[in-house]
């Protein structure tokens, strides 16, 4: 027990320390790297809190893909390289007054958080009992999946809609900049990609399938497959071109569309929307999850690419 306690204390201290370090750094690259490590430790923290689903999502999206997005943006700001020569270091805070007001507001919010947490009555029963009661009718055996895809499927549908909205917004922003390809990587990386990509595809499919009975599911699987697509973009195996737009649009919307169609389709004959017939519940949930996985993977890859595919001239492609 003491070993675990020591580990937990060390973990908590590292998380807080890394958060502070991330905020205090002045070089954006170092900041992002610290943030990625912070995400990894957060995932460990979630695992220690016995929330493996959250841990998986945190490590895949919070640390992995967010980090990739941040690094891509930094490379864009610094004209293709990650070194600090191109400028774009983190600017110093504007002035004392702004800092003071921010500190005051953040302090008030922290006080409210502390009060809300410390003053909360202990051991208020949540909805666990309700979830346990309804599990047999949910079609799956993993409670998190049952909540996400059945009991509160409406929320999950709208979260997928948020992703769709995000990619639409990114596509509609035309920045009038030339296409800057992601930094090309060396031969070692090419070899790594050849080994890692097939394995990652299998891992993504496994996470999707296992979600019905164990931690995993559409978001985690989508993140892993999205990472595969990012690796493909980085290794230039995938070169987005205008001709890909219709396919990409289809991939973005398929999750939302199938989810909403199933939700409406099951209504009728005394059933309301989202009320899956228990006999078909597992099939429908897996169908929805598979389609949502495709959408999430495509959306994350498109966010990494950062814009609607445009025609790229030959020199730029070969650079």
């Amino acid at each position: 027990m003491t070993v675990l306690l020591a580990f937990d204390l060390l973990l908590a201290a590292s998380i807080v320390g890394l958060a502070a370090a991330t905020l205090l750094m002045r070089d954006a690259f170092a900041m992002i790297v610290a943030f990625i490590v912070f995400g990894m430790l957060m995932a460990l923290g979630w695992a220690r809190l016995v929330a493996p689903d959250v841990a998986l999502a945190e490590v895949a999206i919070g640390a992995g893909l967010s980090g990739a997005l941040l690094l891509r943006t930094l490379a864009h700001l610094r004209g293709g390289s990650l070194s600090a020569q191109g400028g774009a270091s983190v600017s110093a805070p504007a002035n004392g007054a702004t800092q003071g007001v921010n500190a005051l507001l953040a302090g008030l919010a922290t006080c409210a958080l502390g009060l809300a947490y410390l003053g909360a009555p202990q051991n208020v029963p949540g909805l666990e009992a309700h979830v346990a009661d309804a599990m047999p009718e949910s079609g799956v055996t993993h409670p998190v999946t049952a909540v996400l895809l059945n009991f509160r499927a409406y929320d999950t549908l709208m979260e997928v809609v948020v992703l769709l909205a995000a990619v639409i917004v990114v596509w509609q922003v035309e920045r009038g900049l030339a296409e800057t390809p992601a930094p090309a990587l060396g031969t070692v990386y090419q070899g790594f990609a050849r080994v890692a990509l097939p394995v990652a595809v299998i891992a993504g499919g496994y996470l999707l399938w296992i979600g019905a009975e164990a931690p995993g599911g559409a978001f985690q699987a989508g993140a892993v497959l999205g990472a595969v697509a990012v690796l493909g973009l980085l290794s230039r195996h995938v070169r987005p071109a205008p001709a890909h737009r219709p396919l990409a649009r289809g991939a973005f919307v398929v999750g939302t569309a199938v989810f909403a169609l199933v939700a409406l389709g099951v209504a009728g004959a005394g059933r309301v929307a989202f009320e899956y017939p228990p006999a078909q519940a597992k099939t429908l949930i897996l169908l929805i999850e598979a389609m949502v996985t495709i959408s999430i993977a495509a959306t994350l890859a498109a966010l990494f690419h950062g814009r609607a595919p445009v025609a790229v001239s030959r020199e730029e492609t070969d650079r």
Partner: protein
């Protein structure tokens, strides 16, 4: 259980979603798909209205689970009024967008076909989120809906593609995400303390300092979303730099989401106390004065209209705060009336301002009177909308302000009356700046070119502004609709 299958409430949320998907897949047909989806949504809302008129309050347990395990949709008179308002504004703004995005590329912005193609998916996603907020009876679901609205609204704000719009849009996004995050923290702590997320669970909760702290977090987040002074800093630039149809949606609908959730929380929970209400009123007073002064100083017409939004939102908070003789269970009506009045008038006003800018070529207030070209109908629409926002009879704005002041008098809260009066005088002053520009001709150096024929683009602002004035005559039926299902549990 509803006899419809699928029920109209779900359809009111999902039809715009399907429209958004179709409009995104087929960009060329986007305007047609968009208007069709808005029409279908209006039909679903009419069906919701029928059900609410029959039963008062209708609920749908999505997934068949029912609260607290599942999520319920709930509609009553207040929700119905907001749904109807949203359908009306979406229809009018959609028609306005047809012509606003029909032209060729402007010098400094995005090509028009791109704007036309992307306006509709974003607009329809926004409608999905708005309808979802009105019909939600679950705290976490409200947070998710706020996120849908945030992203769609940011997309609309930067649709113009100018550097100013992008910069303002980025600030808007940060403010919006921060607000949503505060709401999420609050929701989490409410769940920690009550073990439930549905409104019904909230009603039975014991008030405690910890619960108040959780509510305070949500309140700050919602105030940021609703641009309550001094958290309004993101609004003027974001609304003034967006294209006109987008500004109309942002100003008329998006800021109302925060206000609506605030009303719902006040209805459901052991919150807010008298002190919090007074604080909201004081901040609202700040908004009325500061927004008014800034509108007086604005150099561009759209910026003036955007600052007037800050002031009008402040007035709605004053309406909430005045806590009439029976407290919130009375004063919510004045707030709801002001929300409706402001939405209709401001949508018309932004469309009119956009039209004026398109025809004259600029929207600098000091040079409005130099223009030989006068878009007469758009200027008429602007003036009508101003009448409602100022609160002259018989407009809907007048009914709202009257109901506010009547309640404040009844409760003996004369200070709120003084605030309302000051706001009214300020609004007369700042709208006069634009109106004198419309009416003066002595600085025109060229032959007047006043009438260039009617255009379809003139219809939506004129209709909306006309409604903003004319709906005041229908105040009785509107109040009857608001009271359907007795929100706040009080018989009128």
């Amino acid at each position: 259980m509803p006899e419809f299958a699928p029920d109209p409430m779900t359809l009111a949320i999902l039809l715009p979603l399907f429209g958004a998907i179709a409009a995104f897949l087929a960009p060329r047909a986007a305007p047609l798909i968009g208007l069709g989806a808005v029409g279908a949504m209006a039909a679903a809302i009419a069906a919701v209205g029928h059900a609410v008129a029959q039963a008062g309050t209708v609920t749908v347990p999505l997934g068949g689970w029912g609260a607290p395990l599942g999520i319920e949709l709930r509609a009553d008179g207040l929700a119905l009024a907001m749904l109807g308002l949203t359908a009306l504004i979406a229809l009018a703004v959609g028609l306005g967008a047809l012509s606003a995005f029909a032209g060729e590329a402007p010098a400094d912005g995005q090509p028009m076909p791109r704007q036309r193609a992307f306006f509709w998916p974003l607009c329809l996603l926004l409608l999905t989120g708005m309808n979802g907020v009105y019909l939600s009876a679950d705290l976490f679901n409200l947070y998710v809906m706020l996120e849908v609205i945030s992203l769609a609204a940011v997309g609309l704000a930067v649709l113009g593609g100018t550097v100013a719009a992008l910069r303002a849009g980025l600030a808007y996004m940060y403010a919006s995400l921060l607000g949503a995050l505060m709401v999420l923290l609050g929701v989490g702590f409410v769940y920690l303390q009550t073990g439930r997320l549905d409104f019904a669970g909230l009603a039975g909760a014991q008030g405690s300092p910890a619960l108040s702290a959780a509510f305070a977090l949500m309140l700050v987040g919602l105030a940021l979303k609703a641009a309550l002074f001094p958290l309004h800093f993101w609004l003027p630039e974001a609304h003034a730099n967006a294209t006109a149809p987008a500004s109309a949606l942002l100003s008329a609908l998006v800021v109302k989401a925060g206000l609506y959730i605030l009303l719902r929380l006040a209805e459901a929970g052991p919150f807010p106390g008298e002190a919090i209400l007074t604080l909201l009123g004081v901040l609202g007073t700040g908004a009325v004065l500061w927004g008014g002064v800034q509108a007086l100083r604005a150099e561009r017409l759209k910026l003036l209209v955007a600052w007037s939004t800050v002031a009008q939102i402040g007035l709605i908070f004053v309406a909430l705060a005045r806590a009439g003789t029976e407290g919130l269970s009375d004063s919510w009506r004045a707030a709801a009336l002001l929300i409706l009045a402001h939405a209709v008038a401001k949508a018309g006003m932004f469309l009119a301002a956009g039209r004026i800018k398109d025809v004259i070529g600029h929207d600098r207030i000091s040079e409005l009177d130099r223009s030989a070209v006068r878009p007469a109908l758009a200027q008429l629409a602007f003036a009508l909308a101003a009448i409602s926002l100022i609160g002259l009879p018989p407009s809907l704005g007048f009914i709202g302000k009257w109901s506010l002041m009547e309640g404040a008098m009844g409760a003996g809260n004369w200070h709120w009356i003084a605030v309302t009066m000051a706001g009214t005088l300020l609004s007369v002053a700042y709208f006069s700046r634009a109106l004198t520009g419309f009416l003066r001709f002595d600085r025109v150096r060229a032959p007047l070119d006043e009438h260039r024929g009617w255009a379809l683009a003139d219809a939506p602002p004129v209709v909306l502004a006309g409604l903003a004035v004319g709906l005041g005559l229908a105040a009785g039926p509107i109040l009857a609709v608001l009271d359907l299902g007795r929100p706040f549990g009080v018989t009128p």
